[in-house]
Amino acid sequence: MNEESDKRLWEHFGDLTVQKRALRMGMWLFIASEVLLFTGLFALYTGYRAEYGQQFAEAIGHNNALLGTINTAVLLVSSFTMAAAIALLAAGRRTLSLAALGATWTLGLAFLVIKGFEYSHHFEQGIYPGAHYRFAELPGEGAQVTFTLYFLMTGLHAFHMIIGLGVVAWMALRVWRRRTTAEYHVDLEMSGLYWHLVDSIWIFLWPLFYLLQ
């Protein structure tokens, strides 16, 4: 074992293969906990939707389905570039991998810009979460609850996206400095899993908050 691999290997793992497997499994466990967190919120959605019916659907009808759909496409393409970045690095195409990471980061930022545009449009109309809600067009309690849940769920998702942007930038820096390499890039793989998880959550948020009017 050379000096370089010694530095990468943590003392409580026998070798790098075992370390990689353990890290991947830890990431899948983390993903499981994230899925259950969002499932709780989806359950809240179901409960409120059953309770408020028409008002709930009208509030969702007020969201811009086209912008939501564009954002869905943006995230799907970003998942592709993220997966490609890992495959490219593994194949020794470091520069292309960096380009793919750059594309992933840019698409993630584009998603947040579009989301921010939507939020600011909501705020202009008086659509705020909770007690600050004062949207004249849909004054009902059901619409208020719907938009509060919308802000909570899309906001939590956007928070995950912001973390994701930080992680992708960090990974790009590591690939750039050759800390993350073709031979050993489990950190990039874990970042990819996180990015795809955040994409998967949006895949469900999109129909629930934009399509089912």
Partner: protein, 87 residues
């Protein structure tokens, strides 16, 4: 490169499914709309998990973790659906 080609095919499928879901929502199918939209979303997440997240090659332990997660989510969903339908 073979993996990139597989990812590109998956992306194309995901975008087609997205367009399909959007198209179906414009038809306003009423009560049918919800199960269709959620089924399409489920298929999309399956594609993301199997192809982009490489669950195909993730090994038995991670399959067990993923399966148990899906089982827990299913239990919660069944409880919810029965509550909403038969209250």
């Amino acid at each position: 490169m073979k993996p990139i080609r597989t990812f590109a095919i998956a992306l194309a499928a995901l975008l087609v499914l997205t367009a399909l879901s959007y198209g179906v929502s414009l038809l306003a199918l009423g009560p049918l709309g919800t199960p269709i939209a959620l089924s399409v979303a489920g298929v999309k997440v399956l594609v993301v998990a199997l192809v982009f997240m490489e669950l195909r090659h993730a090994g038995p332990i991670n399959w067990i973790i993923a399966s148990i997660t899906i089982l827990f989510v299913t239990i919660l969903c069944l409880g919810l659906i029965s509550d909403v339908l038969y209250r």
